[in-house]
């Protein structure tokens, strides 16, 4: 069991998970979604070992924790890129051409929405709406909002994000 649990994570990482889980009472099933958010904030994704730790701490079957983690779009079960490029796919952005932006990014990065480049530089994703409709279409790069986007500008942005990896 403990060998299984430690797969892919270091003892230090296990301690980080434990520190996050200490915020939640043991056996409190209602904390599951919040706890997963907090653990994910540590690793930018949910390693398998983290799911097991959460399950044990909250007294839930692992299947339930996995079910929840895979149900919600906000959780990621695979490692994420160093940078994230998120295209807002809200209706207001859509009517202003968001789909074209996403296609451009996907083409330039060579991965589809939800995917990460093999060098773990960039994750491309969609979001349903972030409420910044006034400046749509909107692309978010590492939390920073870029409004009134065009295919040309987004293409330059992506080139910068991918190029950064090559120069390092």
């Amino acid at each position: 069991m403990s060998a299984d649990r430690e797969r892919g994570v270091t003892a230090r990482e296990l301690r980080r998970i434990a520190a996050v889980l200490a915020r939640y009472p043991q056996g409190d099933a209602g904390s599951l979604v919040n706890a997963l958010h907090d653990v994910q904030a540590e690793f930018r994704y949910l390693p398998e070992a983290a799911l097991c730790e959460v399950a044990d701490h909250l007294g839930l079957p692992r299947a339930q924790v996995y079910g929840v983690a895979s149900f919600y779009q906000g959780f990621h079960l695979e490692p994420r890129g160093e940078h994230t490029c998120t295209v807002c796919m809200g209706t207001a952005c859509h009517v202003r051409g968001a789909a074209r932006l996403l296609e451009t990014i996907e083409r330039d990065a060579g991965v589809g929405a939800g995917g990460t480049t093999p060098d773990l530089k960039l994750t491309v994703e969609e979001v349903n709406c972030v409420g910044a409709c006034a400046i749509g279409p909107l692309v978010i790069v590492d939390g920073e909002y870029h409004g009134h986007m065009t295919a040309d500008r987004v293409s330059r942005l992506v080139a910068k994000l991918l190029g950064e990896g090559a120069s390092r």
């Binding site: 919040n34 779009q73 330039d108 349903n128 409420g131 006034a134």
Partner: protein
């Protein structure tokens, strides 16, 4: 740390001390740091304002403020100056020194930062003069400009939590009656009478009850709940405490979308502040009421806006709706009586208690009382949050407040009600916006998203967009929704890509009826609204796609071609340099051409062309 307030009189004394310390004539500069303005650099403007004011020895804490959404997102970052009420638009960091010296210190107006009314060419100094604002009736959004959302003192100084004291005087029965009599209906979409919902929960058997605030604002293009939670979180919390008092609940939850991190932070802080002052916890304000609230983040699932799915999510399960033969008011969260209302509904409650049901009924229509906040977005001149009495017409909102369609384009449709709503054409512009009329027209109020579409929007593409959204958000419980929505999306794809026939349309209609009839929750039963409403009002556009293989709005990629107008092109070579396909060729200073077999219709050439020479048809 302030001590817990022992009772309503202690709160009054606390408020009096706050107002005594504040000079109402003192000049305060407020910077809107709501989502739209923040994305436009408002936080940098606010930081510059603080730094600049400090240089001049101004007491920043008292004379500058970062506020929630002021609504006029189109013109952000916005800045307003009290007590004069001056509004500045599109404020940049470079403008800050002049604002501090001339306005904050000198009381003068910086003319060049004023909004200019495009109809009259006249600069507008105050909110009242700006058409976007003066046609609104801002009851819920009014205080956003007047308070720092991270300060409970600001809220209390403005009279906050006096509605709670009034509720204690009235008693729980009278409070519930007042809410019933006000005619308040749920702002989340369904429009169920709030008072009746409360009553059912209060009367349900059981000793532990919950009140829940639905802040899982999932409709794309809607951000009014975010604006309330970010800009005036205590108004929502006060509503919940009053609700808990009327219903007899001891515990509450706010279920917030994880895509709204600032809203999560603000409401969490508001709850902590209220608890510190004794407005939450054991014996609220010295009364018999014991009530506390927890914040729970969503996981990014649209279906969790559905009440029973939200309960599942709060319990740490997948957000799958269940059959609601027994209402949540009887058996909700953890199987106990639960009352769920949306953010905006809760925010209305303190106002109703304080100002009375008759005042509330004086706004809106007979069956849809009060005001409603809409997020007016898409192809409209003045994007932003708009609060109007129920019953205002679509024309009032889109053309009167929103200033019509940009670029002289023609209005095509307005989409209301979120993904499950419908698209209404120009003939319906005089429809009054209230719960019942919109449903009769094949759309719905929803939570208040209003997305304007112009002649460049393809309605087949819009329907396809919503189907794709809903198909990927289906929880997968019912076969008809899980499989049917993908199939519908594919059929719409066939039409958009030129493979559709009239039989495709017939098949879409048949399948849509099946999905509607056989899905369990509202996501499935209403998912077909976008396709059915566009087929009802924009059938010609569908027929152009299937009969003529033509997309009239020039959106559907398979049916359009890009070309360069030789008369407009000056051969600057910019497009050729940026084309990812190398599909553009031509000599310098000579008209260029696009090789259609290489073109992938990405539109970059159109974006970069300085002379607007790229044609799409």
């Amino acid at each position: 740390m302030t001590a817990r307030l022992a009772g309503p009189r202690a709160l009054t004394r606390y408020r009096e001390a706050l107002t005594r310390a504040r000079d109402p004539g003192r000049r305060v500069v407020s910077v809107c740091v709501g989502t739209g303005c923040r994305a436009n650099g408002a936080r940098e403007v606010y930081a510059a304002l603080r730094a600049q004011a400090e240089k001049h020895g101004v007491a920043c804490e008292e004379q500058s403020r970062a506020t929630g959404c002021l609504g006029f997102c189109q013109c952000g970052p916005l800045l307003s100056v009290a007590p004069e009420g001056i509004v500045y638009q599109h404020v940049r960091v470079a403008d800050v020194p002049e604002i501090v010296e001339r306005t904050l210190l000198g009381g003068e107006t910086v003319e060049r930062l004023l909004y200019v009314d495009p109809a009259t060419g006249r600069p507008c100094r105050t909110e009242e003069e700006i058409p976007f604002y003066h046609r609104q009736q801002r009851v819920l959004l009014r205080d956003n400009a007047l308070l720092d959302p991270t300060s409970i003192d600001d809220y209390i100084a403005l009279g906050g939590y006096s509605a709670l004291c009034r509720a204690f005087e009235m008693g729980p029965v009278a409070v519930l009656e007042e809410v019933k009599r006000s005619g308040l209906r749920g702002r989340g979409g369904a429009g169920f009478p709030t008072g009746r919902k409360w009553e059912a929960c209060r009367d349900a058997a059981g000793d532990l009850r919950y009140v829940v605030c639905n802040a899982d604002e999932g409709d794309p293009g809607a951000f009014m709940d975010d604006a309330l939670l970010e800009g005036d979180p205590h108004s929502v919390l006060e509503g919940m405490i009053i609700g808990a008092f009327a219903i007899g609940a001891r515990e509450g939850y706010v279920y917030v979308r994880q895509e709204y991190p600032v809203a999560v932070e603000r409401i969490t802080r508001a709850i902590d502040q209220a608890r510190d002052l004794g407005l939450l916890g054991e014996s609220v304000l010295g009364s018999d009421l014991s009530f506390d609230v927890r914040v729970s983040r969503g996981g990014g699932a649209f279906v969790c806006g559905e009440a029973s799915a939200m309960m599942a999510s709060l319990e740490g399960r997948r957000g799958v709706p269940r059959r609601r033969i027994i209402h949540l008011s009887e058996r909700g969260l953890w199987g106990r009586p639960t009352n769920l209302n949306n953010v905006e509904t809760w925010a209305n409650v303190p106002q109703i208690v304080l100002r009375g049901a008759d005042w509330f009924r004086s706004m809106g229509t007979e069956r849809s009382t009060g005001t409603k906040i809409f997020s007016l977005v898409g192809k409209v001149n003045d994007t932003g949050l708009v609060e109007v009495p129920m019953g205002a017409t679509l024309r009032d909102i889109i053309f009167g407040i929103g200033g019509g369609i940009p670029g002289g384009k023609g209005f095509k449709a307005v989409q209301t009600g979120g993904p499950s709503g419908g698209c209404l054409p120009a003939e319906k512009l005089d429809t009054p916006v209230d719960f019942d009329t919109l449903v009769a027209e094949g759309s719905m109020m929803g939570s208040g998203g209003m997305i304007v579409m112009d002649e460049d929007t393809c309605m087949v593409d819009v329907a396809r967009y919503f189907l794709r959204f809903l198909a990927s958000e289906s929880c997968g419980n019912c076969t008809s929704c899980r499989e049917g929505l993908w199939r519908l999306r594919d059929l719409l794809g066939d039409i958009a890509e030129g493979r559709g026939t009239r039989d495709t349309i017939a098949l879409i209609e048949e399948l849509a009826d099946t999905v509607k009839a056989t899905s369990l929750c509202a996501l499935g039963t209403s998912a077909v609204n976008p396709v059915l409403s566009t087929l009802r009002h924009f059938r010609d556009e569908y027929l152009a796609h299937v009969d003529d293989k033509r997309c009239p709005a020039a959106v559907c990629k398979a049916l359009i071609t890009f070309s360069i107008d030789p008369d407009a092109c000056n051969g600057c070579t910019l497009c050729a340099a940026r084309c990812p396909q190398g599909a553009i060729s031509g000599e310098k200073r000579q008209p260029h051409t696009i090789a259609p077999e290489l073109c992938i219709k990405c539109g970059i050439c159109r974006d970069v062309c300085p002379r607007d020479a790229v044609r799409v048809h």
